[in-house]
Symmetry: C3
Subunit: 225 residues, 3 copies
């Protein structure tokens, strides 16, 4: 039996995968050019939910990615994708007069997504440390784990990864959470405490950035001709 | 010496790689924006032919991908790519008054491609089972193997993977073939029989979908404003 | 202590990573659509500098990629990316009245990039031979190592890899350097000599192609309607 704190992390992990898949499916199903069929919606849902972890595991080379080795990840992602499909269906639209969630549901999705952002970043860094990588590679791998799924989804949708573009604080929140975790680990706090601190830091920065509409700016300098 | 059924599978495997490369080269050489040079045509041919198997082997992490470890795959893909280049050349156009194949050749390519679709899906699932993955991951990996090459080609050509878009039955045929194979395997049929059944199912569904012009539909719901 | 020739190779290796990152950062920071923020510029710098080697190491499956296992690569790439950021900043523009380098600096970057192109191709082939791959896969892997970073950067920027398009001699110079190295190796020259010959061949072909404005041509045939 897992201790309570690990059960909490496991819960956030799977909720994060499910919400990632739900978000990927909804984005595909709401595509304004009516491009995607069933395969597209489910495929983009799986890529969004599992792409970050798969990328992490391909880099660490410790056997097949967790998303393939532990079937619960794939089941959770499929469930999230099918839920997204259901909410986008004509039947749902007819019955509830809307193809969008209410404000409360949208808010819950944002909160879970922010918590998962923090946890995924910490999980990536944890696995990097376990594979004897240094602190800086562990920081990078934390970020890749947290933002990889969305970025793969973006590339498969024919666009530049959103995290590279000026706009929301997302990758920065992940890097911050990962850095907080690594700092705690270097101070020899135990893993559960470090994980909690890192996840909370990533989560808090993401939520604050949404609350106060923080935006990143373009690097490009206006040319004085 | 391989038994006859395994020699048939091996034949379809290499024919599939060659036809995949040919298709990739022709698509690149016929690009309406005149973008691709020699490197582009051969590169897109190799990506189309070998990308699915390479992705499968990267995920399974059992050593370098077969496409690098067994040189026959690379040679076959190169041959297919060079053939596509030859058929697209000015010399060929001058001599035969056309840069396209006759109807019979186009038909043969479609048949080989459909057979390879079925076999690649089964091969991906077989390797997944051999690596002790579960049935659901094996199904996903079968699909990835069958459609991965074309999808990588699409992304490298600056577009969304065609398999995600409404249109032809392709990924669904692969998934169906893979599922048929996995069902036979769970019924303890021997591997050759299971492979044959799975490949035939994928092949048949693909050919039927072309014959009867089955199309997948967009998931997007028309908004009643 | 490394012998002098190996120290030269190591120098070119790290200079190549740094210049790759610098080029990636500058391209992102000069984006005409003002798209990229800090994460985008540094992310595209890292992808440009390290993407080729990471792809090579993922294929070879001999443990985590060198870019993660040896922190000097990541530090060098970060330094190159930050330098690019600095040169693109308002402060720099105000102080020096320009956001571009002088002709001498631009020229030095081109020379280092060409040397790195040759060395990366040879390094990819060397590692492939060490992993007991054949000559043809080693040639392909040399090319992938040399052009992979730029190609990943291109895909992440929402465009087709430049190496596939008609234009500059780049992938061909890499393949030529790799082929020269492999030929020397088959003639049983020692590794340092083979590496030097291969790197020089790739470098020379790249510099000559720039000096004499050699261009690759589109494969597409004009249709005589």
């Amino acid at each position: 039996v897992l201790p309570p704190i690990d059960r909490l992390f496991s819960l956030i992990d799977f909720l994060g995968v499910g919400v990632g898949a739900l978000g990927g499916a909804l984005a595909a199903a709401r595509d304004t050019r009516y491009r995607y069929d069933l395969v597209g919606v489910i495929g983009l849902a799986l890529a969004s939910a599992l792409g970050g972890g798969i990328t992490r595991d391909l880099i660490l080379q410790q056997g097949p990615p967790l998303a393939f080795a532990d079937v619960r990840y794939l089941l959770t992602a499929l469930a999230g994708g099918l839920l997204g499909l259901l909410f986008s269906s004509q039947m749902f639209a007819d019955r509830f007069g809307a193809t969008h969630f209410g404000a409360g549901t949208e808010r819950a999705i944002v909160v879970v997504d922010a918590a998962a952002l923090g946890l995924f970043a910490v999980a990536g860094s944890t696995r990097a440390l376990n594979a004897h990588l240094g602190v800086l590679p562990a920081l990078l791998l934390g970020g890749v784990t947290a933002v990889g799924g969305g970025s793969i989804r973006d590339v498969l949708s024919g666009r530049t990864p959103k995290i590279f573009e000026r706009g929301e604080f997302y990758a920065i929140a992940a890097a911050f959470g990962s850095a907080a975790f690594l700092a705690c680990d270097m101070l020899h706090l135990n893993r559960s405490t470090s994980t909690l601190v890192g996840t909370l830091c990533g989560f808090a920065l993401r939520m604050l950035s949404l609350r106060y509409h923080w935006r990143t700016r373009s690097i490009r300098v206006e040319q004085s001709s």
